[in-house]
């Protein structure tokens, strides 16, 4: 399933929802005004946009998300990967490793992830 795109400013907005959902629309407007310095109308517009795209949902004045942060992040990252590395994760990692050095913690973390992933695969 194709996850919808999200723009940077929309992402920041969605973050607020992800952190606090379900959240009253009234409250959301207030927080946006404070954190993002957005006008009421702007908040409404962006919310409407995201609802149309199916990322958020506004029902009876309560805002919830239809996609989680992780899903969106995954989608965005995948797009980046597809575009830049032809979808090859190793390719990405290799490039990434080329420039920077990974800390030991990071190596461990990665290894654990790969192990866990492998396990899930065999279990299917």
């Amino acid at each position: 399933m194709d996850t919808p795109k999200i723009f940077e400013s929309e992402y920041r907005f969605a973050s607020i929802v992800w952190e606090r959902e379900p959240i009253l629309l009234k409250e959301l407007i207030g927080i946006c005004a404070k954190q993002l310095e957005w006008k009421r109308t702007t908040t409404y517009t962006v919310l409407k946009r995201l609802c149309e795209r199916g990322i958020l949902k506004n029902e009876d004045g309560v805002v919830t998300s239809l996609y989680s942060r992780e899903e969106i992040q995954y989608s965005e990252s995948k797009q980046f990967l597809d575009k830049t590395f032809n979808g090859s994760l190793p390719g990405f990692v290799a490039t990434f490793l080329n420039g920077k050095r990974m800390s030991n913690e990071e190596i461990d973390e990665l290894q654990t992830m790969i192990e866990a992933f492998k396990k899930d695969r065999t279990e299917e």
Binding site: F7, E8, S9, E10, R12, F13, Q35, L36, E37, W38, K39, T41, T42, T45, V46
Partner: protein, 651 residues
């Protein structure tokens, strides 16, 4: 509005000189800090936008006279040629229906023949040449409107994009910083400035961008950009201003880069350039974007930074001196001295005074001495011009001489007096000591015709009785006024008509007698046919045309019916008594307030032609303008007509 446009045009032209010089200097000052160039650009902007100028002798601007409206009125020989119709082909000037049109209206009516003549001031309105600046002004203001709309559109578009911008609180700065989705960093707000940086910009570029934009603000660059934009809107038609706009943008960026470099130190130069490179966007920016800094021309900026070396002190000093000279030399306008003006008058191009059009005539008179090309005036022989446009003479205001409405009442009163009373009280005609009875005003004994005047208490000098043989006819004519002359009569036996002239209608400066032809039917009834004064005037006026040569001071009077020349008066030759001169030209020729009749088998009418001299109100009747004579006839329907016009010669 046309005036404003011309003013701006002149400002643009003046500023253009400076722009060219600054362009040249810019080339020469490549190695010097760009901030000096920016100062020069500020001078240019001042000239482009500041309407007030001072005149001084140290101005370096070339002293061409400014363009003004006068450059488009007359003076162009090409425009004058349009009006000349020579060799007898006169435009048919329609018979005037109204006789209460003023002189200027009539002058305006004879359109097409007036653009060449310079005498009547009202012609200027119809001068095609004047349309040029008006049209140009309209085009200019249309362009300005388009640009203003475009600017507003961009601003609106911007604010729309900025709505979803998010404040960035990670930096503790005085200036508010936001992140947005726009492609380049920019500054918004002249007074309360805010910096907007794209989301995508990360460290290490972010710090540099921040510094760059902050430097822009502290240097008040956003002010300069705004002023530049206004200048472009106003001077959109000047390509040099466009060039300036682009270059100001560029120079401003480079000057800012240099300032940033000064802050971070020369060692960071390479890193800064790298940051610039990383941020270089290929995306096309709006042209004429008022508040964003086009981060294009990155290559040039990097080159500038990498090449930048601290110049020698003396070069800097030299540059400062040059700037000083430019500033002083171009801030003021050159003085327009009188010699300049006289020189310019010798050219074919027009005079440069800023007078309004009413004074055009005297202006022309002043230049009359210089324009020798037209009338070929040599000292020996005067050439009488036959190519001037012919104007129609005007009727004087006396056409509206009071028409008494008492006609009806007079008739009633008249009818109440019996003939017996009239005859019984007949007295010899004495104008002044006649009191309230009847007088015998005139008689033709051989035909048994007598004419009596009577008077009643209320209508003094009104009521005429004509007796032929035993028959009496009454007419409610006014036969008396301040200058009473009893009526003249003539009996035309062949036509059985009694011609009567009532010598009323006279006063200071006018003489308009009434001609009545009484047509007798069977000696019982006399039908009164009157050649009304208004009709007389119309007929005279419709026949008299004239040309006035304001150079040679020659007046030609022309019979419009056959386009024959009636007389020529050379005022230059007879200057002793007449006021006509180059400074006081004839502005109008008038007819129809002095005419007189001679009765007989052929009724003759004599009339005089007068003229108005510029600046005076009274009509002048010159002894050098002859009187004219014509015949008056009446057809079977009582319509009057005048015949050929001849000159009354003094013999």
């Amino acid at each position: 509005m046309t005036e404003m446009f011309l003013g701006i045009l002149n400002m643009s032209i003046n500023a253009s000189y400076i722009i060219i010089i600054v362009l040249a200097l810019r080339l020469a000052m490549r190695n010097v800090s760009k901030k000096y160039i920016c100062i020069l650009w500020m001078i240019v902007l001042f000239r482009l936008l500041c309407p007030w100028t001072v005149e001084s002798t140290i101005s370096l601007l070339p002293s061409a006279k400014p363009i003004s409206m006068e450059d488009f009125v007359q003076g162009n020989t090409s425009v004058a040629d349009m009006g000349n119709e020579t060799d007898g082909t006169i435009e048919k000037i329609p018979e005037m229906e109204e006789n209460d049109m003023s002189g200027t209206d009539k002058a305006m009516m004879s359109i097409g023949t007036n653009t060449g003549g310079k005498v009547a001031g009202s012609d200027a309105n119809w001068n095609i040449g004047l349309m040029i600046p008006k049209i140009a002004a309209i085009i200019w203001s249309t362009g300005v409107s388009i640009f203003v709309v475009y600017t507003l559109f961009i601003l609106v578009h911007f604010t729309y994009k900025l709505k979803t911008a998010v404040p960035d609180k990670t930096y503790n700065e005085k200036v508010k910083i936001y992140r947005c989705e726009y492609a380049t960093p920019f500054v918004v707000g002249i007074i309360c400035s805010r910096i907007y940086i794209p989301f995508q910009v990360r460290e290490p570029e972010l710090s540099y961008v921040l510094l760059h934009e902050k430097t822009h603000i502290s240097r008040k660059d956003h002010w300069l950009k705004g002023i530049c934009h206004i200048a472009l809107i106003i001077h959109w038609f000047n390509p040099l201003v466009w060039i300036m706009y682009k270059l100001v943008e560029r120079d401003m960026e480079m000057a800012c880069d240099e300032a940033v470099l000064a802050k971070i130190g020369g060692d960071s130069r390479a890193e800064y350039c790298e940051a610039l490179l990383n941020l270089a966007t290929v995306k096309k920016q709006f042209v004429g974007n008022p508040v964003a800094f086009g981060e294009s021309d990155v290559k040039l900026r990097i080159k500038n930074l990498l090449n930048y070396k601290k110049p020698y002190i003396w070069i800097t000093l030299l540059v400062i001196i040059i700037i000083g000279v430019i500033a002083v030399g171009f801030m003021s306008n050159p003085i327009e001295n009188i010699q300049q003006k006289e020189q310019d008058n010798d050219d074919i191009s027009a005079p440069d005074e800023g007078d309004n059009e009413e004074q055009k005539v005297s202006e022309v008179q002043d230049e009359g001495d210089d324009k020798g090309t037209e009338s070929e005036q040599s000292t020996d022989e005067k050439v009488i011009r036959t190519d001037l446009p012919i104007k129609q003479a005007t009727i004087t205001e006396w056409a509206e001489a009071e028409e008494t409405n008492e006609g009806q009442i007079a008739t009633d009163r008249f009818m109440s007096i019996s003939w017996d009373k009239v005859v019984k009280n007949a007295k010899r005609p004495y104008a002044n000591d006649w009191i309230g009875n009847t007088i015998l005003m005139n008689e033709i004994p051989e035909h048994n015709i007598s004419m009596y005047g009577y008077n009643d208490e209320e209508y003094w000098g009104m009521g005429v009785a004509v007796e032929h043989d035993e028959n009496v006819n009454y007419f409610d004519w006014l036969y008396m006024d301040n200058h009473t002359i009893v009526p003249s009569i003539f009996w035309d036996d062949a036509h059985k008509q009694l011609q009567v002239i009532l010598h009323t209608g006279s006063g200071t400066g006018y003489l308009m007698p009434s001609l009545h032809i009484l047509q007798e039917y069977e000696t019982i009834h006399m039908e009164d046919y009157c050649f009304e004064v208004e009709d007389v005037q119309k007929k005279i006026q419709g026949r008299i045309g004239y040309t006035y040569d304001d150079e040679g001071l020659v007046l030609r009077v022309i019979d419009l019916q056959g386009n024959t020349e009636l007389c020529v008066v050379d005022f230059e030759a007879v200057q002793k008594y007449d006021d006509v001169s180059k400074e006081s030209p004839i502005t109008e020729v008038r007819v129809g307030d002095i005419f007189s009749y001679e009765l007989g088998e052929n009724i003759q009418m004599t009339f005089t032609v007068g003229y108005i001299i510029k600046g005076q109100e009274h009509m002048v009747r010159s002894q050098y303008v002859p009187e004219f004579k014509t015949t008056v006839t009446m057809d079977g329907d009582g319509e009057f007509a005048i015949g050929d016009i001849t000159v009354v010669s003094e013999e």
